[in-house]
Symmetry: C2
Subunit: 364 residues, 2 copies
């Protein structure tokens, strides 16, 4: 869907929410909305799109109580705000919208969590991502370095950028709205999405991108929405293998989970934000054992997070059960930069070639 | 100093530390090092360079105890590691060096704080910034958007980049080592260094860079070392006014302090990292009052931080005393995005032009 189509769909869908309330009131009914329940117990695997989505559990919100009526009032104000913003071709951050609500009297938000949550409601109701509302988050996108060329629509016109030749050593920064990017061409065999800046820099310094025709993406910890959208589009547009390389701890598996399966709180956007073909490269608990990496003991919170992953439908595979149970048994975790204990070239000369061959990405 | 000269100085200075130990031992003395004490009670204003530096208080460390001897042993290992790294033209992160010490037996670091602190010791002893050792931090530099052109030496050759015309909407990302940048030319009247991504995006979207020939720098909260080095070089090379625009709370004044005066823990590098001519634009406590901005009450931690600033020599001016005392009296703080409560254009059309005129940067 082009940017223009997305914006048109946003306006149409949002206004139809308001006109449904109008119809309800005209018919003497109490205005209401119905939304899927957003917990890990209400996400289901969708075979067609290969992503996890919300299931059938719904919660109804009607204006019969003061609290719910205020919620609908806030939604009405937000719809009005988005309509005006799209008409004037402006955009704003979620934080700005929160402050703008200062002028909305009883519809003023009490905290930013509340306004963020309401925007998610509107994404679900309209089936349009918030980029289509011109609302973007504070967080920056991460960086890309590798043999690919994009065209980006910027305030100062269309820019064509090759992500090795036209950028500094830090790479190309993913903009807030990935919808403004066109994918021109590439000369890559695969994409490695990397958790830490130290490892991203290591692969660039060691020339891994050149030697293996690899596109390197820095996830910067839990990846921003724009980073996940970028990986989704690289996978869909170019059908490139996407490999996720993180630390070896439960928080990092969640990073992989949010790239591959989508986050629970954005399960309604999984088709746009998740990359079901993304594969977990490492660092696996079995790597900690096989390479005898420097490691730390698991904390109580780590153990709790690992146990929670064992009951998370996104990790309900034999592979993850085996690895997570191994980790609980060893009681150890390692960081991806721990490979440096074997020398600065170990990760690019030994670990990654072996692991990529095992995964069938590189020929042995 | 060019990059080559810096690296040569690094080698010479570091090896002279080791040879001094050799001479001490040959003379039958216990090897030792002497370092300035690194607290806020030992920083002094240096009139010549206009920055805060360590004063005369020194602490001596000699190998008479097992603990101090181990410290010197670790320093010797690190000097050997840096020597090899520079000889091979490699670089590494502080985190990688920490893991590399796994192979150093009794000289292995117990925690990363310890290895970071030792690198700071070596910076002080050698008078060379760690970039000269090819050691870089994990943290990324921030982004720049505005009318300026740089040349950066990258792994794939020299790149010339105009920070509006040759970049995407997210701007040019400052690399780990600002020493690899040459400043080509600019068409700017001033630089605004901005704390939050939301405000940085707001100024770009509103065309503030074009309308006022402004270079916009995103500080990303407490600025990374490379961001501070970049501001220092923009100020020194081009003599451009540097204006710091943050939230209105004690943590943000510290951001300004680290840009203008340098951080206490890097006072030995102030001439390279601080920008003494940087001016605080806002958000001032008096702005919260004068513009009646949406605000929050100060927390106990905020009050404590403000009181601590009142005793910090970097904030010992009438201006800061007046503003900080006003804030304590009002018991309020605001974020820079709070201007959105007056509309999305208020900050660029009303607040900034008025404030910049008051500061003498824009003509009334």
């Amino acid at each position: 869907m082009s940017r223009e189509e997305l914006e048109k769909k946003a306006i149409t869908s949002l206004l139809s929410i308001a006109s449904a309330w109008y119809d309800q009131m005209k018919a003497g009914e109490i205005p209401s909305i119905s939304l899927p329940s957003r917990t890990k117990y209400n996400i289901e695997y969708d075979d067609a799109s290969e992503v996890w989505k919300y299931g059938d559990k719904e919660s109804l919100r009607n204006a019969a109580s003061a609290k719910s009526a205020t919620h609908l009032l806030k939604m009405a104000y937000v719809i009005g705000f988005i309509k005006q913003q799209l008409r004037e071709n402006r955009s704003s951050t979620l934080r700005e919208m929160y402050y703008i609500s200062e002028g909305w009297k009883r519809a003023k938000f009490a905290a930013q969590d509340e306004s963020n949550y309401l925007i998610e409601d509107l994404e679900i109701l309209s089936d349009v991502p918030r980029e289509g509302f011109h609302l973007h988050p504070e967080e920056n996108g991460a960086s890309i370095y590798g043999p690919m060329r994009i065209r980006e629509e910027t305030r100062r016109g269309m820019k064509t950028i090759h992500c090795q030749d036209d950028v500094g050593q830090a790479g190309y920064t993913i903009p807030n709205s990935v919808e403004n990017i066109e994918f021109v061409d590439h000369d890559a065999k695969f994409v490695i999405a990397i958790e830490t800046g130290g490892m991203y820099d290591r692969l660039i310094e060691n020339g891994f991108d050149e030697e293996h025709n690899a596109i390197l993406v820095h996830l910067k910890g839990q990846p921003a929405r724009s980073t996940r959208r970028m990986l989704n589009r690289m996978s869909m547009t170019w059908d490139l293998p996407i490999l996720v390389f993180t630390d070896g701890d439960p928080w990092s598996y969640r990073i992989y989970g949010s790239v591959a399966y989508g986050a629970i709180k954005s399960a309604h956007m999984s088709e746009l934000l998740a990359t079901p073909k993304a594969q977990f490269l490492g660092l696996r608990p079995s790597d900690i054992r096989d390479y005898n990496l420097p490691s730390d003991k698991l904390t109580d919170k780590d153990v709790e997070a690992l146990r929670s992953e064992l009951t998370d439908p996104r990790f309900a595979t034999d592979y993850w059960k085996k690895e997570i149970n191994l980790q609980l048994e060893m009681n150890l975790k390692s960081e991806q930069q721990a490979f440096a204990a074997r020398g600065l070239d170990f990760v690019t000369k030994t670990y990654l070639p072996a692991r990529l061959a095992e995964m069938g990405i590189l020929k042995r």
